[in-house]
């Protein structure tokens, strides 16, 4: 973990972010933050409750002692600033602003002197929510710190011997596969031009075939790839696959003289 941008919690001045190599800071009294830094500032919060918690904790206050008037003013000022620089603010921030303003106005109303109907502190719901959120926010950090398989430790397994499977493995059928793929594409909102066509797929198949062949034989001559049964189309598909592979720098193509033999070799040293 990189702690180079360490913050001292009780320090007056807070280094919020490093922007273009320049440290952006602001103090509790001076609310001016350069617009770009403000964006970064807000993006580092998980929503309005998180931002409010920050305001409270920055002033080293207990949640139950919050001064709603001050917090509301501070919060609303941020929201206004964000709107001014046309930062696309999540709706939740605006809802919270309205909620805070409501609490503020309820607190400013004169209290009815009716002891029978003791009205609840208008802040209590907000305080309850802040406390509740803080618990999970804190525990999520502990959860992340627990050593995790694949990140902090690894599992041990070894290769299997030959064995007879007594039961069939799960099956997959063609329609299922293409439907899953279609849904994936739909989810990604890929444009129509990404629709897989016949030619493209055969090219992809050839690409795999050539790469696989190059694992076994270090060098192949191009004409040996072509099957006379596949005809001219076959040669073209092979050639397209070759170009695709070269474009991705997955293979090396060498042709020592014009119209000479085209040699393909693997660029892969691991295998």
């Amino acid at each position: 973990m990189d702690n180079s941008t360490e913050l001292k919690p009780l320090q007056q001045e807070l280094n919020l972010a490093v922007l273009n190599g320049e440290e952006i800071s602001f103090s509790a009294d001076d609310l001016y933050i350069p617009p770009n830094a403000l964006k970064i500032f807000l993006e580092s919060f998980e929503g309005p409750l998180d931002l409010l918690l920050y305001f409270i904790r920055k002033q080293n206050l207990d949640i139950v002692d919050i001064n709603v008037l001050e917090i509301t003013n501070q919060y609303v000022r941020y929201i206004d600033l964000m709107e001014k620089i046309q930062f696309d603010l999540a709706g939740e921030y605006l809802v919270m602003a309205a909620y805070l303003t409501e609490i503020k106005s309820r607190m400013m109303l004169p209290k009815e002197n009716d002891s029978e109907d003791e009205e609840e502190d208008p802040r209590s719901e907000l305080i309850r929510r802040l406390q509740e959120y803080e618990r999970y926010k804190t525990v999520s950090k502990s959860l992340d710190a627990i050593p995790r398989a694949g990140r902090d430790f690894y599992l041990a397994s070894s290769a299997l011997p030959e064995f007879e499977s007594t039961r069939d493995l799960p099956e997959v059928d063609l329609d299922q596969l293409s439907n899953v793929f279609a849904e994936l594409v739909q989810r990604q909102k890929l444009s129509a031009s990404h629709i897989i066509e016949f030619e493209k797929l055969s090219t992809r198949e050839k690409m795999s075939y050539i790469l696989d062949l190059l694992i076994k034989e270090k060098n192949i001559e191009f004409h040996k790839l072509c099957d006379s049964k596949e005809g001219k189309i076959g040669i073209i598909v092979n050639f397209l696959a070759l170009l695709e592979l070269a474009k991705d720098s997955l293979i090396r193509i060498i042709q020592s003289k014009d119209f000479g033999i085209i040699n393909l070799s693997s660029k892969d040293e691991v295998h």
Binding site: R129, K141, P147, R148, G150
Partner: protein, 187 residues
């Protein structure tokens, strides 16, 4: 001796934890009862004390894992860096873990922001979370709970081994500031 080897071969070949009841079913031999298996497990634990791996008990059974001190070398084998999860995902996961079963709406209520489908999908996909039913309210929202795989991945055997949820009011202010610090480092 032979029982230990059979157990060992099962644990190494499964690539998932195996429970003692599953072992009993596979052995299918009255000569091997639960006590014999438990005994063999404890022998295996002793046997490999000084090696790079250890037999551990997790939620869905036993498995071999490589001791954490060897992770630096192993991580070099993998070209991809392990997934680092966002604060939003971790907060969502915490709510599911500690308040399960819970609906997405209920998570949003506590967090004060909407939970993206992406986060739920990642958790379902990782098999850390599953749908265990639907709340009987309009829209019948799915009730989410954590899975055994989640506990397995954290190398614990039950939910109660998770860190304790802090009591209200017991969180020091510094802890809050540290959280913010973290986020900035990761940004």
């Amino acid at each position: 001796m032979e029982l230990e080897n059979i157990l060992e071969s099962l644990y190494f070949s499964a690539s998932r934890p195996i429970s003692t009841s599953e072992v009993l079913k596979i052995l299918d031999d009255p000569a091997y009862n639960l006590d014999a298996i438990k005994n063999a497990i404890s022998n295996l634990q002793k046997k490999y004390q000084d090696s790079s791996f250890e037999l551990v008990k997790v939620a869905s059974g036993h498995r071999f894992r490589i001791k954490q001190k060897y992770s630096p070398w192993i991580s070099k084998l993998w070209s991809e860096k392990p997934q680092k999860y966002s604060r939003a995902l971790l907060e969502t996961l915490s709510l599911i873990a500690y308040k399960q079963p819970i609906t997405r709406g209920e998570i949003e209520e506590v967090r004060g922001v909407s939970v993206s489908s992406q986060i739920i999908r990642t958790l379902l996909d990782r098999s850390w979370v599953k749908v265990v039913g639907h709340r009987d309210v309009p829209g019948r929202p799915a009730l989410l709970a954590t899975t055994k795989e989640f506990l397995d991945d954290l190398n614990i055997s039950k939910l109660s081994q998770l860190p304790e949820l802090p009591e209200i009011g017991s969180i020091p202010a510094e802890a809050q500031m540290n959280l913010l610090e973290e986020t900035q480092d990761n940004a």
